[in-house]
């Protein structure tokens, strides 16, 4: 028995000692293992990393909520797609072109939005700045990064600069008074303050300009959809126009037109099922008929018995529908009378469905495969026409540019062309261009900016009977929860 005891003691003591030694010698056990994710000090090591990082900008364009949050984020309903917190709603629903039948959109249609009543629409502010953060993070990590090839470094920098300016452009237009953030820093104890809007405008111009210098004119097919030199110049032209920098707008628009774009022979093809290689498109959000990465505008506007499974929320206003020349091909994409899937004839009485995108027979639920068109040559023509008119008054070049679009819209019917003599002065042509713009580019996210530039945003709302639309409504309120989280932010005037 005693022997057994000794044996066990002999066994136990070394076990004890080695255990303690083993554990204490392994301080390394307290280092955290990282699986699946990539540690930040192990990223931006090569060209592929940099490209993967800049891809996040493209992903952010159609995702709402936080990019990386596993919950709460909806794929495919974000900023530049169709959904709730989207540029589309912010730029279109308060205008003379369209309205939404659902009660939760009344805050837009009726100009009754308050800082606290954003509901699901309110995430756009944060989404835009998250996009800006992603761009800033890419810029900070590629700058002077010798592990990247020069070609990739420049291209990725160009894409990130463009992305930053694109998001800033939207934030600048919608909220006006915003912070200027150019570095990927998010110190919770040092929250940013707003800057004079002119500083933001200059940043946008600088970024678009530098991006245009860095980005290639085109990509191989496997990179179709990325930002190009033309994309940057196109946005620059439009931004300069909104800034009423007419000569700079003219310059940028001419540079775009000089690039390898051409008008689509058919208006409808721009939005057709295989619009992926349409020569008119300058900025696009390519789509595939799959949940999260498809195009849902048809589902948002079609009546549920026209294209089965649609929601029938967004409709063109009757007044807008009636403003068209009835021979205008462009009106044929606004549908009032239709045959239901069941074969009955029906009419939409309070508006018209906006079936600009060709309904996709292979759609998956609401998700169609048409690429979302965010900028195209037709708009650049109108930008050039408008800027020239502002600069020199009615002129033949402006008239020709407009007639090029009207020829396409009326099957080259010469009687539908406008004449220089129709316009007595700059104001007359300006007003006409605003009309032509709505016919040519309705529901393409331009209308609010166009009306603002023409000083008619509030006036048009008042004319529709929205009596409480006031001058301060030219800007949206900053969501209350953003002010709550950052007390350095001041609410836009009129909402405070």
């Amino acid at each position: 028995m005693k022997n057994t005891n000794r044996n066990l003691n002999l066994f136990f003591v070394p076990v004890l000692l080695s255990l303690i030694l083993f554990i204490t010698s392994c301080e390394k056990v307290l280092e955290e293992d990282v699986f699946v994710d990539i540690a930040s000090n192990n990223f931006f090591q090569n060209d592929k990393d940099a490209i993967t990082a800049v891809n996040a900008i493209y992903a952010k364009m159609r995702a709402d909520g936080t990019v990386t949050g596993q919950s709460g984020q909806q794929e495919g309903w974000g900023m530049f797609a169709y959904g709730e917190a989207t540029i589309f709603n912010y730029q279109q629903v308060q205008t003379d072109e369209l309205f939404v039948q659902w009660a939760n959109f009344n805050v837009f249609s009726n100009f009754t939005l308050t800082p606290s009543s954003y509901g699901n629409f309110g995430s756009l502010f944060g989404d835009l700045f998250e996009g800006i953060f992603i761009a800033n993070n890419v810029l900070a990590n590629v700058e002077g990064n010798e592990k990247l090839s020069e070609e990739t470094r420049n291209r990725v920098r160009g894409e990130a600069l463009f992305g930053r300016a694109l998001f800033y452009n939207a934030a600048y237009s919608l909220y006006g008074n915003i912070p200027k953030i150019t570095k990927p820093e998010s110190d919770p104890l040092n929250l940013p303050e707003q800057v004079p809007p002119a500083e933001i405008a200059q940043l946008i111009i600088d970024d678009f300009t530098e991006a245009a210098n860095l980005l290639p004119e085109s990509y191989p097919p496997s990179d179709y959809g990325r930002f190009t030199k033309g994309t940057a110049l196109g946005q620059l032209a439009r931004f300069q126009l909104n800034q009423k920098n007419w000569s700079q707008a003219i310059e940028a628009a001419r540079e775009v037109i000089a690039l390898n774009y051409s008008l689509s022979p058919e208006y409808g093809e721009i939005f057709g099922l295989d619009n992926g290689n349409n020569p008119e498109i300058i900025l696009t959000l390519p789509s595939i008929a799959q949940p999260g990465i498809g195009n849902t505008l048809v589902a948002h506007t079609s009546q549920s018995d026209y294209i089965i499974g649609s929601w029938g929320g967004h409709l063109a206003r009757n007044s807008f529908y009636d403003s068209f020349d009835q021979d205008d091909i462009r009106r044929s994409f606004l549908i009032k009378d239709y045959t239901t899937a069941g074969g009955d004839s029906k009419t939409v009485s309070n508006g018209a469905m906006i079936i600009k995108y060709e309904p996709d027979p292979n759609r998956v639920g609401p998700w169609g495969g048409n690429d979302i068109v965010l900028h195209r040559l037709g708009e650049v023509y109108l930008t050039l026409a408008e800027a020239l008119n502002e600069e020199i008054g009615p002129n033949m070049e402006s008239i020709d540019l407009i007639n090029t679009l009207r020829d396409r819209a009326f099957n080259n019917d010469p009687t539908k062309r406008i004449q220089l003599s129709d316009f007595a002065n700059k104001e007359a042509l300006r007003d006409y261009i605003l009309l032509e713009r709505s016919w040519e580019t309705y529901a393409e996210n331009y209308r609010r900016d166009d009306l603002l530039r023409h000083g008619k945003y509030i006036q048009k709302a008042n004319e529709r009977g929205i009596a409480n639309a006031q001058q301060f409504h030219v800007l949206y309120p900053i969501p209350q929860f953003e002010i709550d989280r950052n007390p350095n932010l001041d609410q836009n005037q009129g909402y405070d």
Partner: protein
Amino acid sequence: MIKSGLVGSIRIAIVAALLVCNMIAHGQTRINGKVFSDDGEALIGATVTIKGTLSGTITDNEGNFSLMAENKDTLVISYLGYITQYIQVGTSTELTVQLDLDLETLDEFVVIGYGTQKKSDITGSVASVREEDMNPGPNVSVSNLMQSTAPGVVLTQSSSQPGGGFDVKIRGASSVLGANGPLYVVDGLPLTSDNIQPGSSSRHRYSPPRNPLNGINPQDIISIEILKDASSTAIYGARGANGVVLITTKRGKSQRLTLDYSSSFSLQHLNSEYDMLNAKEYATVSNEVFLLKNPEDDPIYSAAQINNAGEGTHWINELTRLGTIHQQQIGASGSYNNLKYYASANYYQHKGIVEISELERIGGRVNIDYSKKKVNAGLSMSYSNTHDRQVPFGANSNAAEFGGLFDNTRNWSPLLPVRDENGDFTVHPVRSLIPNPMSLLNIDDRIETNRLFGTAFFEYELFSGLKAKLNVGSDQSNSEREALIPLSVIRGEQSNGEGEVGEIDSWSSLGEFTLNYNLELGNNSRLDVLGGTTFQQFDREGNTTFFVNFADQTTDFSKITNADTLSVVRFKERSRLLSYLGRVNYSIEDKYLLTFSFRADGSTKFGPNNKWGFFPSGAFAWKIHNEKFFNSSYINELKIRASYGHIGNQEIGNKRSQSLYNVTRRAVIGGQPIQGLAALRPDNPDLRWEKTTQYNLGLDFALLDNRIYGSVDVYNKLTTDVLLDFQLPGTAGFDAVTLNAGSINNRGIEFALTSRNLVGDFKWTTSANFAYNQNQWNDRAGFYPEGQQIAEEYGPLSGIYGYQVLGLFQSQDEIDNSPDQSAVAIAAPGTFKYADTNEDGRITPEDRVLLGQYDPKYTFGVNNTFQYKNFDLNFFFQGSLGKKKMNFTRAYLEDVDDLPEGFNKARTVLDRWTPNNLDATVPGADNILGGFANNSWYIENSSFVRLRNLTLSYTFMNINGVSNLRVYADVQNLFTITPYKGNDPETDEFVQYPNAKTYSIGLSATF
């Protein structure tokens, strides 16, 4: 020895069998035997008598006895402080009898961290729940057993679905980001706090996580110890701040083979539900609201349609059914030589009151102990297989295209039947993509979870009083979820069938080595020293695959052969905890008790600058009743206790201190979907554990021959370095950064009292516990989370903030003469009139005020037991007071704005505001803000007192070899007294599984 023991066991088994057959033999034989205590020592002077006679003997110095008896006789073996054993003589002539410590006596042993202690020697605050205190009736998890049985332990059922989760808080919440639930330790194995079942964020598959403790069969549990103060939990260091629950399972005791069998069956029905508009009312109100907004248009429904509408479909009735619970348990325990064993098998099946929802569990346990001379060894293993069938709750969205089962069921038009004349599900009249609620029951969403866990230890006495112990443990689970949305659901139709397969494997492994030195110092003084090191690693990995486009249109997941994979999501994480621990218990003359303990924890979860945390504690107790000067015939026990210590909380997710890149949502480039990588969060190399400093002062007492006994504790808990996901403004690019800031204070008082009001033939015992906890921020450090931006500096952690509603605007005139509300909501007659609390003449978000708190301030439990002969009547009240809740459901169901769009509302809207109904109880149409802004109209008092259990039982003794047969009937949730207007003050959430009343009958028998 081995041989005779084996023979003895076999003989006893044979005898038991013979007895069942009523075979009785005659004639006296000599019986020789030996009596042991349960730790193997011979019991000297134990009494052995023959039942019903005066003849008997006592055991000698070696515990032996010898007497003459007939084989039909029953021997009664008793010893002070031990449970009396009854043994049928039968044909055996050699008996080895083991007596177990009597836990009924006041001075029972209780389990503490890394050891046991006599209850009278406890210096900290430890509540103990014994098997006999546990709720009878069907209990799916250990959480059900703990409800209101100990003061300061607040269990709130978070969902009443089968196996639904519980929210457990001990002495109040002290963490924002970290878990607030206690650490669970089963037979020495700390369990992971991570969810072991795959969840889903998809609204068509969302269902709140079920209770992670469902894998532990409550019927195997013999005791639950709840450690509350710092001196008892500091030994668990960085996991001790929220309290520790030690669960001890049954182990083999007696030599005789004992079989236990129990079974119960329950019926459940819906407890309460909103009364919705019937078809005729629905059509009428639809027209009224529509015409109010569109005065020029024709009404939606014609007079004829309204007149013919009638009652319509009662959707809630379509959804619910009579639920059933059915359980069976068989256990066997006994010993064989130096081995003691306990084994059990259990079956539990719960078909919930909502169609298709179900939980089914099969489980088993084996506990083996070996002890011989200086060696003690043991094994505890448990296995369970759980099947959950889930229903799609939908997540936080009002009825819409993606809505869930419960909101859609309430809101669906009563004018529509479930199916149309073709047998297809009816379609929403306005928004055709909103799924018919009954079609959602075709979603097949199942989780199967296998869990195997257990510990094994080997203890050796190196020399007298010094024991070395090696303990290893493992907790391994695999859970797989298969969810199918078939073509009969709109979303399934859109994607031509949609599926999700998720899997989580988790594994925690434990290794620990402890030395325990026990020294008797004479004069009733004792020293008990513990030291050791432990290491635990938690691994978790899983993946989820989403697919669409099924080749064959089956509704059975297992038959799917071909589908398109949409995406695969994978995760893998690991955390480790390396610790050193020590404790000294010093008892001086059984009067003064001192405890010191410490633990050092190193954790992978924290930043490189703060890997280690140190958690010391100390306690002192004074048994006044053992002092010579104390001489009272009324007071049997009087002990004061004081403790102080530091404890921590590390229960946050992994990878919080590092900045990591993870995949984003997708874009399309070059015609292909691609993903990007973006940074998840900013890093924080200083991230560290939350530190809680807790004082506790307690008093234990027993009066009047132990007829009344109980305890009082007061405590003050200050948590500093609170772990927060500091919400960043949108401009930061991240939602949040994880950091340590601020402090939270919990202080309170707890009473526990048991009174044996009547003894004798008619017994009446009352056990009551009561706790008050005040929870507040001590320092917010600028942390004002969503909805609490205007929160009070020292407000409660679970504070509910919102606008104070003064009433409903009665006229435009009143609006014009009231503070401007336009920054918050467009005012219209019949909408809320908010109070201008800061009196600046306008209603702004600054006017929000603290309207209450979610966590209760007062909780209590009162249990009354009446015993008369073999009857037992027990009723158990549970109360939770001083809490409020935002009633989202009512807010939505009383907002008539979207009623004309095809969403049914509660019947209370018949009394909504109109110019002709000024004293309305419900706001009128045009309630533009919607009901969803937190305001005092919908923030309701959710205090309640509930008759949790009412049980009547009858016990038959010694019938045909069954030594104990108990039959009972039990009702759960018989009634609830509450001012809350929703369905249930406890389980109500925006989308919630309806609560049920449960009626059970059951029996338990011991052979």
